[in-house]
């Protein structure tokens, strides 16, 4: 029998918005999958592109960044920078033929509990379709 695949999605969530959004989803008892492994960061711009790569190479099936909507960043412009950096990592992945679908950035505000739950569910489904990250098996990384 094939073992059920439970994806692991390393999620860097901004303390001021997405992390609070995730909290809200929890207190409102909205269902979202256990695949999400939340890590609180002070701002989406705290997520060094290298974190995404490290998580990916360490076998995370998906890597998610959650930040405040453009214009709403607690530090004013952090998320604009985060977006550029994300674009760079995604482009590096694409040009090397790595699965860039395993990286995701989403704007989720503190009041968007339902959006958080929806993103978590949809992204998990997407990753389920992709299957296990091949980096989980490679020993030559």
């Amino acid at each position: 029998m094939k073992k059920e695949f439970t994806p692991r999605i390393t999620s860097f969530l901004c303390k001021w918005c997405s992390y609070t959004g995730a909290d809200l989803a929890g207190t409102a008892r909205l269902q979202y999958p256990t695949s999400i492994i939340p890590i609180q960061v002070m701002c989406s711009s705290r997520v060094d592109p290298v974190f995404l790569i490290k998580a990916f190479l360490n076998g995370s099936d998906g890597v998610l960044i959650g930040g405040c909507h453009p214009g709403d960043c607690h530090y004013e412009t952090g998320n604009y920078h985060a977006r550029r950096r994300f674009a760079i990592v995604r482009s590096v992945f694409e040009s090397l033929g790595l699965e860039s679908e395993r990286l995701k950035l989403s704007w989720i505000s503190a009041s968007e509990g339902p959006k958080f739950a929806r993103v978590a569910n949809e992204y998990t489904e997407e990753i389920m379709k992709l299957g296990e990250n091949p980096t989980r098996k490679s020993i030559f990384l």
Partner: protein
């Protein structure tokens, strides 16, 4: 701006210019390639005495270090320096200026249309002198010399982007009018005032190099295509970089990687034993030292948009990984996201320092 007709020995004319500048006190030093006859080798030299200029071989197709990198440690001396740079070295320096690692203020930049450079192992074997005649012939016909660096053969930025003086070597020299030296800026006119040579008002016309450009673009396509031979993706990546020995030579010779202590050599990525135990329990095995692929992917996100494709990284790789080709290919894509061309303009900001409110609407 004017131009000066020089004969087919462009190299000699550049040497004369440097000598003129030094003798007349217009500059304090000249940065140029130099030949060391007793060892049959070359180095990059900072020459202050006009009588030493005869050793200079300013246009030699050899790059022992990316001169842009070296320039970053001398450009702020306050002294006037004339520098002879290959187009990608000049572009690298522009990238460094953006990162506050140098200044154009006291520099007179001289660059040239570039036929590409020979890899260091040919230099080390002492074969350059014998290769030069054929090399010159090939580039004057708008063709690509076969034994130059792979990224040189695939380089479309062989015309200097913002030099004070452009020397045309590739393409024009064999034509009737001979090589030309174009004074592109006020600064160039000022420095070259009094320098002998037949002047005209002619401007550099890139269209004479159309044939070279086409050949280079075709070569680039071939190079990029060859890199996905075993298919794209993780397997290809491991195939390419799996034999990396982790010397990090590729970043130490890279003009863009200027960090004194690279992130990937820092304590950030030292691990304690539980890290290894965790990997053992999940995968049954892991490579030591770890983080081979991580380093290259990380470096790609750090600097590929500024990669000038100079090829230094490939040349120093002890196991022959085509590092430069990967960085050039990936870098072109990351730079294109921002309509960015590394080395185009020192006034431009590097893409990660700025942002637009409306962009990348597909992200988020």
């Amino acid at each position: 701006m004017s131009s000066i007709t020089i004969d087919t020995r462009a190299s000699r004319k550049v040497r004369e210019l440097l000598k003129f500048l030094l003798e007349n006190g217009k500059i304090d030093a000249a940065l140029t390639m130099r030949r060391i006859p007793e060892n049959n080798s070359y180095d990059l030299a900072l020459i202050t005495d006009a009588s030493n200029i005869n050793e200079a071989v300013p246009l030699i197709p050899v790059m022992t270090v990316n001169a842009g990198q070296v320039l970053s440690s001398i450009s702020t001396s306050g002294k006037k320096i004339a520098v002879v740079l290959k187009p990608c070295e000049l572009r690298a320096f522009v990238e460094l200026v953006k990162r506050e690692r140098g200044s154009f203020e006291n520099l007179l930049t001289i660059s040239h249309t570039c036929g590409g450079v020979f890899p260091l192992d040919l230099v080390e074997k002492g074969q350059i002198e014998e290769l030069i005649p054929k090399y010159e012939k090939t580039i004057s016909k708008g063709e690509i010399p076969v034994n130059t660096r792979d990224t040189c053969r695939a380089c479309e930025h062989f015309i200097p982007m913002n030099a004070d003086i452009t020397v045309s070597v590739a393409g024009e020299c064999e034509s009737e009018k001979g090589c030309m030296m174009y004074l592109n800026t006020e600064k160039a006119e000022e420095f070259a005032e009094g320098f002998a040579g037949e002047r005209s008002e002619q401007k550099f016309d890139p269209s004479v190099l159309q044939k070279t450009l086409n050949a280079r673009l075709a070569e680039k396509e071939k190079l990029f295509a060859s890199m996905t031979a075993s298919g794209p993706g993780l397997d290809q990546l491991v195939d390419t970089f799996g034999k990396c020995v982790g010397c990090h030579g590729s970043n130490s010779v890279c003009p863009i990687c200027y960090c004194l202590l690279c992130d990937f050599e820092s304590a950030n990525f030292d691990y304690n034993l539980p890290y290894f135990e965790e990997h053992l329990s999940r995968r049954g095995a892991l490579r030591l030292p770890p983080d081979t692929i991580f380093f290259h992917l990380g470096r790609l996100t750090h600097m590929s948009f500024s990669c000038v494709g100079c090829g230094m990284c490939s040349d120093v790789c002890p196991v022959g990984i085509p590092v430069a080709a990967v960085f050039k290919k990936t870098g072109e894509k990351t730079a294109a996201l921002f309509d960015y061309v590394p080395g185009r303009d020192a006034e431009e900001s590097i893409p990660v320092m700025v942002y637009k409110e409306e962009e990348f609407s597909d992200i988020g």
